[in-house]
């Protein structure tokens, strides 16, 4: 758990850096969506932030053996991906935008979003476990 808090602190630091230097909310879903939207602002900045994420993964994958694989086969994984993309777009944010940045500024919208997606996420896990559709553990 201490590593979790340390990692979280780095995420908070990153969000602060991005906010102060680039004037943007470090919300990954929003940054990604904007990348593929014609006429969106600061495409290059978005791309660089996302590239930073990819590079971090690349380095971590190289120097540590903690490369986690998806727990789902490809077809359900793609289905889940569509839900995540659609949902974050409609809801205006994900775990980083609503969770980290939104809660840090005590936004009611973000609090509502976070409670909602944790609730439906937990419910989904419960249902999947109950029907034992997959046995990842």
């Amino acid at each position: 758990v201490s590593l979790a808090i340390l990692g979280g602190a780095l995420i908070g630091l990153s969000a602060s850096l991005f906010w102060s230097q680039n004037g943007r909310v470090a919300g990954v879903s929003g940054l990604l969506a904007g990348l593929f939207q014609s006429g969106s602002k600061a495409r290059f900045e978005r791309a660089l932030f996302l590239l930073g994420l990819v590079i971090a993964g690349l380095l971590f994958g190289k120097f540590s053996h903690r490369i986690a694989a998806p727990v789902l086969p490809l077809a359900p994984l793609a289905f889940a991906g569509v839900l995540v993309g659609f949902g974050t777009r409609l809801g205006g944010g994900c775990t980083s935008g609503h969770g980290v940045c939104g809660l840090s500024r005590f936004s009611l919208r973000s609090l509502t979003a976070v409670c909602t997606f944790i609730a439906t996420g937990a419910l989904t896990v419960f249902v999947v476990r109950a029907f034992s559709l997959w046995s990842a553990r």
């Binding site: 990153s14 593929f36 974050t88 976070v114 553990r137």
Partner: protein
């Protein structure tokens, strides 16, 4: 955007990604364990959120105090979204939660996993972008119909 901003964008992304890796959030099993409230629940994700929010909230407070003294400093414009809880917010978050609970991936970690070469992460990210595009397309449609049927639909564009 100047070189400094380019560097900070890249650096912020990299620090964010390292934070996700260190905290184990790139492993879907850790995320699913947090959501598994009736099973073997793990508080890890809550720890990550706590660490991130503590640092960022403290920083925002500090910055706000500084801005109060020097009002000319950068007041970013893209936070002025109306603070309204609407159906789109709740429905979107609910749909996101289902995908999150199925896969254990949210956007950030899935992109880091893509960089780490985790098999299948590219499929997830591609599907995610597709879902985003789909939402934008649907919203474009409803916006046009809303405009045709009733001109008073001020939040459809939000």
């Amino acid at each position: 955007m100047n070189a400094k901003q380019a560097l900070s964008a890249l650096g912020a992304g990299a620090i964010f990604g390292v934070g996700l890796c260190l905290s184990g959030m790139t492993d879907p099993k850790n995320v699913l364990a947090f959501l598994d409230v009736t099973g073997r629940w793990s508080p890890k994700l809550a720890g990550v959120m706590f660490g991130a929010i503590a640092v960022h909230a403290a920083w925002l407070r500090f910055a706000a105090r500084k801005t109060a003294r020097a009002p000319h400093s950068l007041a970013p414009s893209n936070t002025s979204a109306p603070a309204r809880v609407d159906a789109a917010l709740v429905l979107g978050a609910a749909i996101f939660g289902v995908g999150w609970g199925l896969s254990g991936y949210c956007p950030g970690p899935s992109i880091v996993a893509l960089g780490a070469g985790a098999g299948g992460a590219i499929v997830f990210v591609a599907a995610m972008v597709l879902g985003m595009r789909l939402c934008d397309a649907l919203r474009g449609l409803t916006k046009t119909t809303a405009k045709q049927s009733s001109p008073r639909e001020p939040h459809a564009a939000e």
